[in-house]
């Protein structure tokens, strides 16, 4: 079938549309040949960032491996909305075992493939932030440390969504969840850094760690491609807004992901063997307020009177990220010994 000129192209106010690019430079998602690894008809909420992220990641992984891919999935929204018996949205080999053990199951799959000499088949494990940074953390760290040949993808919607929006170790400061209600002197999730899993992954000095969002489709696809060009443990952390948990409009999912990146709250970078190798610079930074305000989970910060003190604390987190990852393209390079 000849490719149709344009089926789907990158969205968002500042994105360069696919239609301006040569066919071979266009995203996987714009291709009529894309694999539809997770096909339509699943039960995700409207505007679910996780469904979007999983499709982007898997379609690209399928293309770059020539369809030689098996997947392991943690319990969570992605698993629940995709496989209500007797239906399945998955067009790829897919195994769900438990909530916490995804990385270990994937290690076992990789070991079996190696034992059988089927090293052409690649392994991708995926889960939510709770399944990754909290309950699945020990298994993931073990998988990293052993050097198992698995790409683990975390779809971070910053809370336990499938059970009704409870706080996880990845929930940002002051965000309202069902277990950190917006009441009391310090409303919402406790202040702090949470568990910064990309940096913890880097501390394992694994071949590849990257972060991405569902807003930068080309960047996300390139990172999946890069990850699949390598062997050994690799980790990809994708920010996936959740309209239900964040209290945002379904149509705002991609936009919010972009605002998270542009505010500096979600640094987008790549690292190899523990060293940062590239960052997505922020050319037009926005104050965090612009990102926080459209989300009901932060509504208490903008009540009367507003909690400017807490907004300021969040701004400091963003500033710290910008400094740490050198996200400001105008930053004067620090001179050694100066």
């Amino acid at each position: 079938m000849p490719a149709q000129s344009v089926k789907f192209y990158q969205v968002g106010s500042r994105a360069v549309g696919n239609r301006l690019l040569d066919a071979e430079l266009r995203t996987e998602q714009s291709s009529a040949e894309r694999r539809n690894s997770i096909t339509s008809g699943h039960r995700a909420c409207q505007g679910c960032g996780e469904a979007l992220g999983a499709r982007y990641v898997l379609d690209t992984a399928e293309r770059v491996t020539g369809g030689r891919l098996v997947t392991v999935n943690a319990t969570g929204c992605l698993e629940v909305f995709s496989t209500p018996y007797p239906e399945s949205a998955w067009q790829v080999p897919w195994l769900h075992s438990l909530f916490a053990n995804t990385a270990s199951v994937a290690s076992g799959v990789a070991a079996a493939l190696e034992a059988q000499g089927r090293t052409d088949v690649r392994v991708l494990a995926q889960g939510g932030d709770g399944g990754t940074v909290d309950i699945g953390f020990a298994c993931l760290s073990g998988m990293f440390e052993r050097g198992d040949d698995v790409l683990f993808v975390c779809y971070d919607n910053e809370a336990y969504m499938n059970t009704g929006v409870q706080r996880s170790g990845a929930t940002p400061a002051y965000a309202r969840t069902a277990t950190t209600e917006a009441v009391g002197p310090i409303p919402g999730s406790r202040p702090g850094q949470g568990k910064d899993l990309p940096r913890i992954a880097m501390a394992h000095e694994i071949p590849y760690v990257a972060t991405a969002t569902v807003a930068e489709l080309r960047d996300l696809e390139a990172k999946v491609e890069r990850a699949m060009s390598m062997r050994g443990p690799r980790y990809l952390h994708v920010l996936v807004p959740c309209p239900l948990g964040w209290g945002s409009a379904p149509a705002e999912t991609v936009h919010l992901a972009r605002l998270a990146q542009r505010s500096g709250l979600f640094p987008v970078f790549e690292a190899e063997h523990g060293e940062v190798t590239s960052v997505l610079p922020i050319r037009d930074r926005i104050p965090v307020e612009e990102y926080l305000r459209p989300q009901r989970r932060y509504a208490h910060l903008f009540a009367d009177p507003p909690r400017t003190d807490l907004i300021e604390r969040i701004q400091q987190i963003a500033d710290r990220n910008v400094a740490r990852y050198h996200l400001d393209p105008h930053e004067i390079p620090h001179e050694e010994g100066a």
């Binding site: 018996y85 897919w94 076992g108």
Partner: protein
């Protein structure tokens, strides 16, 4: 050929003959010698292309076994006690997914108080996890049962636990014949998984099932598990013939002078040998050893016990507040028969079960419903005595509360 071997070594060598593909392992006493030996064999290339994974927990060990098994590799692991409980969620999951994993459980007590010695509280706690449970009466059986376990697991697509009394068997040196490679190969064909992760034929494994079909899924799992006894008998007969040793033919239940006996002692595991010695010198007493504990071979057990006038179940585990675990199973197998079933709790946390104590026990004119063998009454009395003089905690709390309330009032 019989060689003087440690039980663990014989198990490891037998598992090696079963050509495992992936062995995830985590250390815990008294299981360690088994996986250490296998790890060394893999290191030396003797099991190529087998992969040995040093995982970070038992939960990871069972999880990796699940992944490997459902990717088409024969998966094996071993554990004990706290380790078995630590992997519990994945143990149930392996059964639900129909992953034909074989696992040795070197039976050990569960803490607190922490105790590394033998009893069967660990595997008993997981008796309803959907696994087939085999209990080895001796070290030759411990080795042989692993071959049968892999074959049975893969025929039925159900995981199998081979329970071996920790230390008593795992650390005992005895003459054991590790079945030869050709024999194992003849009995155990290459693993053909029922469901497999394969890009050429993508399937969804582990989907979510709601009320509309969950009962049916469980019904079918139960039905499949219940087909294990005849399959086990058939495979065991085939194996015994292949090794040319009829006395090594395993059975779901083993009848030692039990049919027609007045009193039958029912037991699992290594106490079998002692029991047989004991009943040899007592008239009218026989021993029934349960090798396959799950699925529970109720019919086979009833057939042996139907004429008995008294049944004594020797339990190496305790269900606190409910006494004997195996006793309840035996009672339900004997439903409608008017025969007393008495429980003897013995060998907890490594306490030896001595022939003299058993002989005395069986000679007692009347046995209570529940007896703790060799219970140290002096220790019990001393502890109970101390408890009566101790101040009840509730009162102490009350005093403290009054005091601090007073402080607050005064402040």
């Amino acid at each position: 050929m019989r060689r003087q071997l440690e039980g663990s070594r014989a198990i490891a060598e037998t598992v090696a003959c079963c050509r495992p593909g992936v062995i995830p392992a985590y250390p815990i006493t008294p299981q360690t010698h088994i996986v250490e030996a296998l790890g060394t064999m893999v290191r030396k290339g003797q099991l190529a292309p087998c992969r040995f994974l040093t995982v970070e927990s038992e939960f990871a060990a069972m999880s990796a076994a699940i992944g490997a098994s459902l990717t088409g590799s024969r998966a094996y692991t071993a554990t004990s006690s706290q380790g078995l409980l630590y992997m519990t969620e994945a143990v149930f999951n392996a059964a639900g997914l129909g992953a034909p994993i074989v696992m040795t459980v070197a039976n050990r007590a569960i803490g607190a108080p922490i105790n590394i010695w033998n009893d069967q509280s660990d595997s008993m706690a997981l008796r309803d996890s959907g696994w087939i449970q085999l209990h080895a009466p001796d070290n030759q059986a411990a080795a042989d049962l692993h071959v049968l376990a892999f074959r049975l697991a893969e025929e039925l697509s159900v995981p199998v636990m081979v329970c071996v009394d920790g230390f008593v068997l795992t650390h005992a040196f005895e003459p054991i014949d590790v079945p030869e490679q050709e024999i194992v190969d003849a009995v155990l064909p290459p693993y053909r998984p029922r469901q497999v992760l394969d890009p050429d034929d993508p399937v969804t494994i582990g989907a979510m099932v709601g009320p509309e079909a969950f009962t049916e899924v469980r019904y079918l799992a139960d039905r499949r598990l219940r087909s294990a006894p005849p399959a086990f008998e058939r495979i065991a007969a085939e194996f015994a013939e292949a090794v040319g040793a009829p006395q090594r033919r395993a059975r779901c239940v083993q009848d030692y002078r039990a049919t027609g006996a007045d009193t039958v002692v029912v037991a699992l595991g290594s106490v079998t040998g002692t029991l047989r010695d004991v009943v040899d010198s007592i008239d009218g007493v026989g021993v029934l050893t349960i090798t396959m504990y799950r699925p529970f071979p109720a019919e086979e057990i009833r057939a042996v016990l139907v004429g008995a006038r008294r049944i004594v179940v020797l339990e190496r585990a305790l269900a606190p507040g409910a006494s004997g675990i195996v006793t309840s199973d035996v009672r339900s197998a004997l439903a409608g028969l008017d025969v007393p079933v008495q429980t003897v709790i013995a060998g907890l946390g490594g306490r030896p079960i001595g022939a003299a104590s058993l002989r005395e026990l069986l000679a007692r004119p009347g046995l209570e419903d529940v007896t703790f063998l060799d219970l140290r009454e002096d220790v019990i009395d001393r502890e109970l005595g101390r408890e009566t003089v101790r101040e009840p905690i509730a009162e102490r709390d009350g005093e403290a509360a009054v005091e601090s309330a007073g402080e607050r009032a005064g402040a």
